[in-house]
Chain length 130, copies 2
Amino acid sequence: MMNKNKYNPTESELEVLKILWTKGPSTVQTVNDELNKSKEVGYTTTLKIMQIMSDKGLVNRTKAGRKHIYNALVNQHAAQKILLEKVLDTAFSGSAMNLVMHALGNTRTSKHELNQIKQLIEKLEREQND
Amino acid sequence: MMNKNKYNPTESELEVLKILWTKGPSTVQTVNDELNKSKEVGYTTTLKIMQIMSDKGLVNRTKAGRKHIYNALVNQHAAQKILLEKVLDTAFSGSAMNLVMHALGNTRTSKHELNQIKQLIEKLEREQND
DNA sequence: CCTCAATTACGAAACTTTTCGTAATTAGCT
DNA sequence: AGCTAATTACGAAAAGTTTCGTAATTGAGG
């Protein structure tokens, strides 16, 4: 029931985190360039957001020459878990099955991947008895 | 890649939608009572949010006596799809498998449900060839 | 048809997020 | 050391969200 999660990254913050997760520690410049591949956003806007994230403890930064190198402090897996729980709770009324069915139904998933999921399911089935 | 989704319900709006989805067309009173089961929120606050949702076209309303009956205009399945896509894109880099593994790994899912998912997977496997 | 309790409308305050202009600082180069 | 381009800091405006007090409206019962 409760939803007392620590992180509540905003939309913009999540976009930045996503970039830091995939590209690793980066400068504002790098992040801004990456953001601009999908939408126009000013350098100082990105800078500000990353500074705020630093204040909030979502990232840390170290000086390297005149630049700052930003690093995600939020673990990607933890964030995935939290975001998933949120969607699960608000949109799918807590039904993981429902969510999984949706996810599989709406995206193309390769046979290999389907097989991996099936193996996980079989493992889960072996581990429980209800 | 693109993310040009029509709906961007806020946190509060999603909570209201969730209630309308499960309880069907409802008055502000009903929704507010329901909200207050999990958090304290004033009547006029709920009213205002629902009025804004009406302005945005997320719900419509019809007069019934002195009350208004609010009805979700956002289809639950459509919303689920959009929210899922968003999480999928931002947190799981688009990998449905990854998301599914997380979802199944972190929640308790009954054997019956696991079986249903397995059947879907087998159906999907039959339908494709890669 | 009058009253009153319930409901809705209005508006504004507090807060957060997003955006960016401009000033200050910094490191690299000559 | 001094200049310049890059970078960061500062601050504030604009937009959106959340909250709620108070006024206006409404319908049901007497």
